[in-house]
C-alpha cells in the first residue's frame, strides 16, 4: 500500500502539466467549444511527448494513463485522451488510431469527440469492435456541454473488427474508469475555481467564502472529490476489476452532479457566463453524466457485480 506518487509518476505528471500549461486551460477550452473544435495542437504535443503510449509503456500502465486523463480534464484539455490513451489501448492491447471516440452499438444519441475521431470503439454486447471513421460518418451536433459531439451513422456504429469475446466487458470497465478520471479532474478544477472566487468575492461586508453555510457545502464537495480520487486510482491500478470500475464510476458521477449543483449555486450568476471559467468544467460534468446509461446504470452494474443482483436494464 502506498498512497503517494512515485518519483517516476511525479515526473510523468510534471511533464504533462508542462504541456497542458502551454496547450490547454479554460480560455483555450472556451475558444474551442465556441466552434465545436478539437485541440489538434494539444493532441500532437501529447503524442510527441509519448503520452499516447503511456498505458502500455515501459514502467507505466493504466494508473499512469488514468492520472494523465485526470490532469487533461482538470486543465479542460480539448482532446479525447481518456478514450485514446487509456481505454482503447487497454481494451485492444495496442494503440488504435486516435482520436478515439467511444460508443454503444444501440445508443443513437450524439457521441463525445465523434466529429474529430478517426476511430470508433464500440461496445456491442460482450464484444468490443472498432472501426475507422470517415468524413461522411459523423454529423456535427451543436451542443454547449463543452465537448465536440456528433451523431454517427448506424452502419459505422456497428464497427468492423471485433476484439474478441470478453472485450465488451473490458471496454465497459475501462470506460467506467475513464469517466471517473475525467469527472475527477473536472470536479477538482470546478471546486478550486469556486473556492478561489468565493475567497475574494465580498458580500454583506465579508468574503462569501467565510460564511459557514458556504464552507460546509464546499467541504462536502471536497470529501466527494477526494473519495472519487482514490476509487478511480485504485480501480485503475488494479486493472479495472468489474466491481471496482462500477464503484468508481458510481461514486464519481454522483459526486459530479453534486459538484455541478453546488459550485453553480454558490458562484451565482458568474457561473453561467463564458467570461468566467466555471462553465468550462461544470458543463462537462453534466455531459459525463449523460454517457453510458448515466449514473443509474453504473449503480445497477455495481449491484450486479457485488451481490449478483439480476441485471435490471438501463433506465433509458
Amino acid at each position: 500500500m502506498d498512497f503517494e506518487l512515485t518519483d517516476d509518476q511525479q515526473a510523468v505528471l510534471d511533464g504533462v502539466d508542462a504541456i497542458l500549461a502551454r496547450f490547454a486551460g479554460p480560455a483555450r477550452a472556451a475558444e474551442l467549444a465556441a466552434k465545436g473544435g478539437y485541440d489538434d495542437a494539444l493532441e500532437a504535443a501529447l503524442g510527441e511527448a509519448g503520452y499516447a503510449e503511456i498505458a502500455l509503456g515501459d514502467g507505466t500502465g493504466a494508473l499512469e494513463a488514468a492520472l494523465v486523463a485526470e490532469r487533461v480534464a482538470r486543465a479542460a484539455g480539448g482532446v479525447a485522451f481518456a478514450a485514446s490513451g487509456l481505454v482503447a489501448p487497454l481494451v485492444a492491447g495496442r494503440a488504435l488510431p486516435g482520436p478515439v471516440a467511444l460508443a454503444e452499438a444501440d445508443e443513437e444519441g450524439p457521441i463525445r469527440f465523434a466529429p474529430a475521431a478517426r476511430t470508433l470503439l464500440v461496445r456491442d454486447g460482450d464484444v468490443a469492435r472498432w472501426a475507422p471513421l470517415g468524413p461522411g460518418d459523423v454529423e456535427l451536433v451543436p451542443s454547449n456541454f463543452g465537448y465536440p459531439v456528433g451523431r454517427v451513422r448506424a452502419s459505422a456504429r456497428r464497427g468492423v473488427e471485433s476484439l474478441g469475446a470478453g472485450s465488451g466487458r473490458r471496454l465497459l470497465a475501462w470506460w467506467r474508469v475513464a469517466l471517473g478520471a475525467e469527472a475527477l479532474g473536472a470536479m477538482d478544477a470546478a471546486l478550486r475555481f469556486t473556492v478561489g472566487y468565493l475567497r475574494q468575492r465580498e458580500q454583506f461586508g465579508r468574503p462569501l467564502g467565510s460564511f459557514q453555510g458556504v464552507q460546509h457545502r464546499l467541504a462536502s464537495c471536497a470529501v466527494a472529490i477526494e473519495g472519487s480520487r482514490w476509487l478511480v486510482y485504485e480501480a485503475a491500478a488494479q486493472g479495472a476489476p468489474d466491481e471496482a470500475a462500477a464503484c468508481a464510476a458510481s461514486y464519481a458521477l454522483a459526486a459530479a452532479g453534486r459538484v455541478h449543483r453546488e459550485t453553480h449555486q454558490l458562484s451565482g450568476a458568474i457561473g453561467y457566463t463564458t467570461e468566467h471559467d466555471l462553465h468550462v468544467w461544470s458543463m462537462r460534468l453534466q455531459a459525463l453524466r449523460l454517457e453510458l446509461g448515466g449514473p443509474g446504470a453504473q449503480l445497477r452494474a455495481l449491484a450486479t457485480e457485488r451481490w449478483g443482483a439480476p441485471p435490471a436494464g438501463d433506465r433509458r
Binding site: G109, P142, Y147, Q203, A269, Y272, T273, H279, R315
Partner: protein, 382 residues
C-alpha cells in the same frame, strides 16, 4: 380553510388556455427555447401582450382607475401560472404589469403616470431592471452607480450587470446612489430611465444559458432628467421595497416545472421506460416538490388577498420553487440521456433555464437566512 378554486377563476383558466391555444404560434416550443429574454420572445411579446390587453387580461389586477378590472390576486395567479407553464409569452412584460406599473401608481407624478401606465397596460413597452452591480449581487444596498445632480438632470455614471431583457428595452427601472456621502440603503433614488439616452451602452454577456440572456449596462455621463425620478430623492429604498413586495409571489416556476415534468413522463412512456421503478420514484419526488411549491406560493397569495404584510411565506415559497425547478431540470437530462447533449433538445433547453433558478430570484442562501431569522427566530450570527 378552502382549497377549491372559485368557479369563476377555474372558468377563467379554461378560457385562458383556449386563448393560448389560439394565440401561440405552432413553432412556439422552438421560439421559446431560449427563455423570456431571447430576442424572438421579446419581439413576440409585443404582439402577444397587445392581444392580452385587448382581452382585458394584461392588467386585469390593476385598479379600475388605471384601466384595470380590480381582479383578485387569485385571478392574477391563474394568469401567472398559465403564462409560466407556457414559457412566459409575455416575455419581460410580466415585470411591467406585476410591479413596475404598481410602483408608478404609488409613487409616480401625474406626468409619469400619464406617460407610462397606458403603454404598460397596452402591452407595447419593454422594461428592464437595473439593480445588480459587479460588486453588489444579492446585497442590493451595496450599490455604487452614482447620480449627481446638475440642475434639472442627474448625471449618471456606473455599471449594472446580469440585466435581462435590456437589449430591447425602452426603459430601465434604475437604482442609483443619489447622495454620494450615503451608505447602505440610504441615499438611493429610483430613475425611470429611457434606454435610448446618450451614454447608455448595453453589452451582452455571453452565457451558457442562452443567447441574449444576460447583459451589462454601462452608464457614462448619462443625463437623466430629474423628472424621471420615481418618488422622493434619496428615498428610493422605500420605493424598491414597495415594488418588490408586489413581486413577493414571484414567478410561477412550479407551474413550468410541473408541465415539463409531465412532458418528461410522456417521453419515458413513449420510450417504454415508464415501468422502471427508479424513474417512477424520481418523477414522483419531483412531482411532490412541484406540488409543495404550488401550495406554498398559494399561501403567499392568500396573505396578499387578505392584505397581510409580506412575510416569510415568500421565502419558503421561493426556496421550494427553486428546488422543484432544479430537480426537474436535472431529471430531464437524466431521462433523455445522451440526446440531451444536443443544444436544441428539449432536455438541454430546460436544464439551461433551470440552472439559473435560485440565482434569478435572489440567492437561495439569502432566503434560507431569512427563514432562519424570521420563521425559526434563530439568533443572528456575528
Amino acid at each position: 380553510m378552502d382549497f377549491e378554486w372559485d368557479p369563476e377563476d377555474a372558468a377563467y383558466r379554461e378560457e385562458l388556455r383556449a386563448f393560448l391555444a389560439r394565440e401561440l404560434p405552432a413553432d412556439w416550443a422552438t421560439l421559446s427555447k431560449d427563455g423570456p429574454g431571447s430576442d424572438a420572445q421579446l419581439e413576440f411579446s409585443r404582439a402577444f401582450c397587445a392581444r392580452l390587453a385587448e382581452a382585458g387580461w394584461l392588467t386585469q389586477h390593476w385598479p379600475a382607475a388605471y384601466g384595470g378590472r380590480d381582479a383578485t390576486p387569485w385571478r392574477h395567479a391563474v394568469l401567472g401560472e398559465e403564462m409560466w407553464a407556457h414559457g412566459e409569452p409575455r416575455g419581460s412584460q410580466y415585470m411591467n404589469v406585476n410591479w413596475i406599473g404598481p410602483a408608478i401608481m404609488q409613487y409616480g407624478s401625474d406626468a409619469q403616470k400619464a406617460l407610462h401606465l397606458p403603454r404598460i397596460s397596452a402591452g407595447s413597452v419593454l422594461w428592464c431592471q437595473g439593480f445588480s452591480e459587479p460588486n453588489a449581487g444579492s446585497d442590493l444596498a451595496a450599490l455604487r452607480t452614482r447620480a449627481e445632480r446638475d440642475g434639472d438632470v442627474y448625471v449618471v455614471n456606473g455599471q449594472k450587470i446580469w440585466t435581462s431583457y435590456c437589449n430591447k428595452a425602452d426603459y430601465c427601472f434604475l437604482l442609483v446612489r443619489s447622495d454620494p456621502e450615503s451608505k447602505r440603503n440610504r441615499g438611493i433614488s429610483v430613475l425611470l430611465m429611457p434606454m435610448d439616452l446618450p451614454g447608455v451602452e448595453v453589452r451582452e454577456i455571453p452565457s451558457v444559458v442562452g443567447a441574449r440572456y444576460f447583459h451589462e449596462v454601462f452608464l457614462s455621463d448619462v443625463r437623466v432628467p430629474v423628472a424621471c425620478r420615481l418618488g422622493p430623492e434619496h428615498e428610493g429604498w422605500g420605493v424598491v421595497t414597495y415594488a418588490l413586495a408586489y413581486e413577493r409571489v414571484g414567478a410561477a416556476r412550479y407551474a413550468k416545472a410541473a408541465l415539463v415534468l409531465d412532458q418528461i413522463a410522456e417521453h419515458a412512456r413513449a420510450n417504454g421506460r415508464l415501468g422502471d421503478p427508479v424513474l417512477q420514484e424520481r418523477l414522483a419526488e419531483a412531482r411532490a416538490l412541484c406540488e409543495a411549491a404550488r401550495l406554498l406560493a398559494y399561501r403567499v397569495i392568500d396573505g396578499r388577498v387578505k392584505g397581510q404584510p409580506p412575510s416569510v411565506d415568500t421565502n419558503l415559497a421561493r426556496v421550494a420553487g427553486t428546488e422543484a425547478d432544479k430537480v426537474v431540470g436535472e431529471l430531464a437530462l437524466e431521462v433523455h440521456g445522451s440526446e440531451a447533449l444536443a443544444y436544441e433538445s428539449f432536455a438541454a433547453a430546460n436544464f439551461r433555464l433551470s440552472m439559473t433558478a435560485g440565482v434569478a430570484v435572489g440567492a437561495t442562501e439569502v432566503q434560507l437566512n431569512l427563514i432562519a431569522a424570521r420563521f425559526l427566530e434563530l439568533p443572528k450570527g456575528p
